[in-house]
Structure formats: structure tokens, C-alpha cells
Amino acid sequence: MSHDHEHGHHHHHDDDDDVQEHREHGAPLSEVELRVRALESLLVDKGLVEPAALDALIDTYETKVGPRNGAKIVARAWVDPAFKQRLLQDGTSAVAEHGFVGRQSEKLVVVENTPAVHNMVVCTLCSCYPWAVLGLPPVWYKSAPYRSRAVIDPRGVLGELGVRVPAETEVRVWDSTAEIRYMVLPERPAGTERMTEAQLAELVTRDAMIGVARVPASAGASR
């Protein structure tokens, strides 16, 4: 997609297949892998964690809860002015109408991007993020470059990510230092007037709901 910024370096994490391959070739596990394995086995032996519960926790956040939740909320707000009003007044209750509740989302505040105000969300102290609507945060959100720069140079960060904010637009950065979680309601792109709610939801990206991307006018964006 043309809207995707050009700099997007790929991280070269070795994935699980690589790990599997290392094991098959008899290479030792890394120190951190060994520590996690030792700790998990101790916790199981002591009756402090149940293996099936661990699998259920992983499955929840790997396959069930993710940014598609938030995208449905955004699309609904774009087509339903009454819902949008409820969402901006009381985000927690409005997303609960869709069944999106729970951990890391005790109170949700939704902030609206307009031509006058551009909102973006960060957690400088750790990694606070609205799990119920966006799932677990991506690595860049939890990493030092974003956490350090989002508050001191938001326009620089946005510019690098391909979002040019006009000088007359106010940038608001929300540093999530409490249990209140923030989600951005991005601007609906022009040219989408004939789209259905489901088609609109397909357009909405995770990064647009964090406030570091705009929503493209056609689907296919990877973030």
C-alpha cells in the first residue's frame, strides 16, 4: 500500500521454526529460554499455576483479543452518530456493548482525531495499552525509541511514520500513567461514504487507533 511508510525495517527475530530447527540440530537453548522453562516447571510442581490455564491465557491474547475488536468499534462510531457520542462520553460502557471488557481496560477513554486535533497514545513508564480493544501491544510501542520520543518530539515521530500533521493542528499526546486506557478514534478517510460498516472495519489499522497512522481509503494495509 502506498500509504505505508518506506522506512519499515524488518526485525530479524528468529521465529519458532528457527528455534525448532536449533533444537533438532541439538543446539542448546538460550539462557532466557532455560530460565522460563525452569520457572514454569517449578510453578507447576508447586501447584501455583495450571498448565491448561497457561495455554488458555496465551490462546486468548494470541487468537481471540486483538485490534479487530477496536476496528469494529471505530467503524460503528463512523456510521452511528449516537454510538459515537456514547463512545466519546463513556468509552468503557460503549465498548462493553460489544462485549469488549476486561484486563488492562478498567476504564477506557476514546479520543477523537479531527482536522483540529491529532491524538496519540504512549506509556513512557511501562507498556499500558487497551488490551480489550487492541490486544497486546506491539514491540515498538513497548520499546525505548517510542517511549522516550513520543512525549518530547511527537511531530518528529509522526513524520518518520508518514503522518504529517499540519502546523495549525494541535498534537495531544496521552501518557498512560494510570489504569485509564486510551484509544484513538481516527478520522474517517474521504471516499468511503458508500462503504458498509464491515468494509470500514477492514480499513482500520492498529496503528491508527494508537494515533501513529492515518486510516487508508482502501483495504490491505498491514498495520
Binding site: 530460565r35 499455576v49 490455564a53 484486563r103 525505548a144 522516550s148 501518557d175
Partner: protein
């Protein structure tokens, strides 16, 4: 504490790099570290503020050189040691090989697989039900306290002794600066406080932009 976690405003970490089509987890050990941390949290032995404080105590040089789930692992090991659930010696012994006697833990209430979904849904750890009067109203001018505690605080370094305006009253919440240090809940109002970018960063910042930070009554004084 003025630890390696308090990153807002630091320079030198380089650009924000967004990974396209990023998986939720990059390694199997990250899945397991995530799950055992969440499951151990449901034992109810510590609160979310104490779990954040445990991660913050990773030495700064180590914090900045390691990844997100390594911070989690450090915090979990520390909490398990501090609460006498898993000792350092037990981890060391388990690293040498499987099996071996483990010291049982009396009275632990382990999260079971069929409790995972309801436990995540009703997760509501920090909102307080107490009826506590707010010290400030929306629109009030405030100045943040200049504090540098050795313990846990959610007032970031970059926002100490800064003037702002109360923008949102989030209601009554547990105070992390006491709860995270094992000193009780001390419920009080939490506010979204607006700081002009120039108040935080000086005249080089744009006059239009602002940072919103969630802070509690005890972080603020009238301005």
C-alpha cells in the same frame, strides 16, 4: 524510583521501527513468560503496582539492554522470591536439571483453566469504590510535586515541578505510589492533567501541542 523504565524525554534510542505483520509473540519462551506472569498474578499475592515496581528494579543498564518479556521475567522472579513462593536456590537447582524436591506452598489459590475467561472479564484491580472528595476540579491550575522517591511512583521524571491544568476527573482510584510499595490503597481522585509542550520542554517545543498525564491528588498542589 528514578529507574531505567522512566524513559520520557530521553534522547539517543534511534527511530521507531514498526514491524510489518508482527506476530503477537516472537518466541515460544515469550508466550510462556507472559502466561506464567499473568497466572501468578491471579494468586493474589501482589497488586499490579507491585508487579510494575518489581520490573522497575531491574538495574538500568540491564533494563535498557533487554527485551520486554525479559523485564517481565525479572519482575516475576523477584516477586516469587519476595513472597517466599519460589527461591533463588530452587530456580538454580531446576536450571541444572528436571526433578528434585520442591518446597510446597501452603494455601495458594491457583488459577484453573475454567476460571481464565471470567477472571479476565472481571479483572478490576485499581478502581476504588470509596467516596472520596476530589481536591481539584476540571479547569483548576495545578503544579506537580518535586518528588524523587526510592519506591514506586507514577509521576514521571519529565513532569515533576511542572504546571498544568486539570482536564479530566477519572474518579477515585487506588494510589500506586503507596500500593506499589506495600503501603496500602490510599484511594483518591486521579485526573488527566494537561501540560503545554513548552512547559515541559521549553521554547523549542511548539506552542500548540500538549501532553496529558494521569496523576493523582497526592501528586498535585494548587498553582
Amino acid at each position: 524510583m528514578n529507574g531505567g523504565h522512566d524513559l520520557g524525554g530521553m534522547h539517543g534510542f534511534g527511530p521507531v521501527e514498526i514491524e510489518r505483520d508482527e506476530p503477537v509473540f516472537h518466541h515460544e519462551w515469550e508466550r510462556r513468560a507472559f502466561a506464567i506472569t499473568l497466572a501468578a498474578g491471579f494468586l493474589g499475592k501482589w497488586n499490579i503496582d507491585q508487579s510494575r515496581f518489581a520490573r522497575e528494579q531491574m538495574p538500568p543498564a540491564e533494563y535498557l539492554a533487554t527485551t520486554y518479556y525479559e523485564h517481565w521475567l525479572f519482575g516475576l522472579e523477584k516477586l516469587l522470591q519476595d513472597h517466599d513462593l519460589v527461591s533463588r536456590d530452587e530456580v538454580a537447582a531446576r536450571l541444572l536439571g528436571p526433578g528434585g524436591a520442591v518446597r510446597p506452598v501452603a494455601g495458594a489459590r491457583m488459577l484453573k483453566v475454567d476460571e481464565v475467561e471470567p477472571a479476565l472479564r472481571r479483572s478490576r484491580a485499581s478502581k476504588a469504590d470509596e467516596d472520596v472528595a476530589p481536591r481539584y476540579r476540571v479547569g483548576d491550575r495545578v503544579v506537580t510535586r518535586n518528588i524523587n522517591p526510592l519506591g514506586h511512583t507514577r509521576l514521571p521524571r519529565y513532569a515533576r515541578s511542572k504546571r498544568g491544568v486539570v482536564a479530566l476527573d477519572h474518579g477515585v482510584w487506588v494510589f500506586p505510589d503507596t500500593a506499589g510499595n506495600g503501603l496500602g490503597r490510599k484511594p483518591q481522585h486521579c485526573y488527566g492533567v494537561r501540560f503545554e509542550a513548552r512547559e515541559l520542554w521549553g521554547d523549542a517545543a511548539t506552542s500548540r501541542d500538549a501532553i496529558y498525564i494521569d496523576l493523582w491528588d497526592d501528586h498535585l498542589e494548587p498553582a
